[in-house]
Symmetry: C2
Subunit: 337 residues, 2 copies
């Protein structure tokens, strides 16, 4: 393996000078830089970043921690974050965290190893954040996207969508179209803040119309996946008192529900109406096109990076920002006569 010492030997300059050229420092004579670069190219040499990071106090990198490999929303948001970060002159290093891992512990380790200037969490457990956020690197500012934090810790900010309002809008959308008996597919409100807020939003919309919503028969509690969405929809039809419309807290669960309904011979929206959440690309490609609550990906990414940059710039005041959600029209909801 070629190292910086090999390049130094081959070029006739010292390791220090080679290092400077590799780092793009200007305090090297033109001719020296050219000569060294030639050797670097000849050997296809690239610096060992692990070794570099070990020595460097701080890098020009933003660490992006993506919670869950299968989350199409996050996959798509990562690109927006990448674009926003790149525009600031920093580069991004993305890492995926398993659904069940502690992202804060992981962040702590990665911060120590890669010395990023800041970190962006794409989704995160409120639990981990609250209990472990203090262990994040002192000087390393962080911003959480799509999840609220509420740690009060300096320089851990968040940009969230209005989950309560979005779910209330989803339910209202269905109620406005004559539906009276709603079914909801969502996560465990006891552990997921997002699910709790959204469930409350549904309750609020229903209550505002003097109707009732009984979680025991109308709320299918499950995980955010295709297969679980499928099962949840089935449960809702069996347990539910004749739901005419279903709100799924993610598009991917809604797609699972779509198939479950078809398998029971029910048409969407002819027999049951369906509304999703997230606004992933796929939602507008399926037949029928899904009505869904679109998370404003660019806004979340842009504001998140802007806030992170103010922290990096020296302002430690944490901010918790909430952005609105758009409803995307589709073909999956029917107006009852």
């Amino acid at each position: 393996m070629t190292t910086i010492r090999d390049i130094a030997r081959e070029s006739g300059f010292s390791v220090s000078t080679v290092s400077r050229v590799l780092a793009g420092h200007r305090d090297v004579s033109e001719s020296t830089a050219v000569a060294i670069q030639a050797v670097v190219d000849r050997y296809h040499f690239t610096v060992n970043r692990a070794a570099r990071n070990l020595k460097q106090a701080e890098t020009m990198t933003i660490l992006v921690l993506v919670k869950g490999r299968h989350n199409l929303l996050f996959a798509s948001m990562l690109e927006h974050v990448q674009a926003a970060v790149t525009a600031t002159g920093y580069s991004v290093a993305a890492q995926y965290i398993d659904e069940d891992d502690n992202e804060v512990a992981e962040a702590e380790r990665l911060i120590a190893e890669t010395k990023p200037a800041g970190v962006v969490f794409l989704g995160a457990d409120a639990d981990h954040l609250v209990t472990d956020a203090d262990r994040l690197g002192e000087g390393c500012p962080a911003v959480v996207l799509t999840n609220s934090v509420g740690t009060g810790r300096a320089a851990v900010s968040s940009v969230t969508t209005d989950d309560f309002g979005a779910a209330r809008a989803a339910a209202a959308y269905l109620l406005d179209r004559g539906h009276r008996m709603l079914g909801v597919i969502g996560g465990n409100p006891a552990v997921s803040t997002i699910s709790r807020l959204r469930a409350a939003g549904v309750q609020a919309a229903v209550a505002a119309r003097g109707l009732t919503f009984d979680p025991a028969t109308q709320y299918a509690q499950t995980r955010y996946s295709l297969g679980e969405g499928y099962d949840a929809a089935g449960w809702l039809l069996d347990a539910g008192p004749g739901v005419t419309a279903v709100y799924a807290m993610s598009d991917i669960m809604a797609l699972g529900a779509l198939r479950a309904l078809a398998d029971r011979g029910l048409g969407v929206p002819a027999d049951v109406s369906l509304i999703g959440h997230d606004g992933i690309d796929l939602a507008s490609y399926v037949v029928p096109k899904l009505v869904t609550l679109r998370q404003p990906q660019e806004t979340l990414a842009r504001r998140g990076v802007e806030i992170l940059m103010t922290h990096i710039g020296g302002d430690p005041t944490p901010v918790e920002e909430i952005v609105g959600v758009d409803i995307v029209e589709g073909e999956s909801v029917r107006t009852l006569p």
Copy 2:
């Protein structure tokens, strides 16, 4: 930041002994190990892997390089690879490579930085492999999954599906059901070996029946994405001489095509039949359920890891293995009268 020196100081033992405990070596007295572990726990200390890798000659890690963040097939295959690797006692480190990046150059850098025992490529450009494979770490065996290699380089093996046979089967499936005018949505045969093989497979099936297939009007060349699949299907309907069935070289393109057909008022399979490729979960959840050629994910992963282990075990003979593809029945193909 706490380092191994802090733990040494706090526990009263030397850095060497702490290092041994952290590495799980047995040559440390029970009482010492317990005492050190207590301090480690108290500080939530985790070793800096970057520093560890810098010193270690080789780690018990298999590096998995995933080409493309949006590839649902690879996302799913990664889990199978992870399972297969874990069963051998090694752990996996996954890294995503952008579609357009040179995965071999990236592998070279990561091998130097993390010293894996072996690397698994989930998808890879034949071009990069052929021109740059020699630059992979000398002693670092590699296996490429889903793409054939043909570098002849020692210890770069591959496990591929029979792309020619699979595409021929797809076309035959449609021809057997009375379709005479096929449309194909695929990649650029000039740069993608996979696309070239599959296109040839279609040609073979058509020719075997004494029919013809004109790429100029029946082959929509595009990228492997939802939106491009949508556009390609539209082009096929405009340019094509009345195709009655479409074979898309990936399920995700097929899903795009599904929507394109719906937007033109064409039913699947009533008006046009559709067959995909890959067998991703989503394919069996959409309505109509997609007929598709399923890549045998577990087999690819299992054999890939088995072969990698023989290389790690010392046998450098490269093997190129080809596995068959199953057809998954669905609701998207109609038999013509």
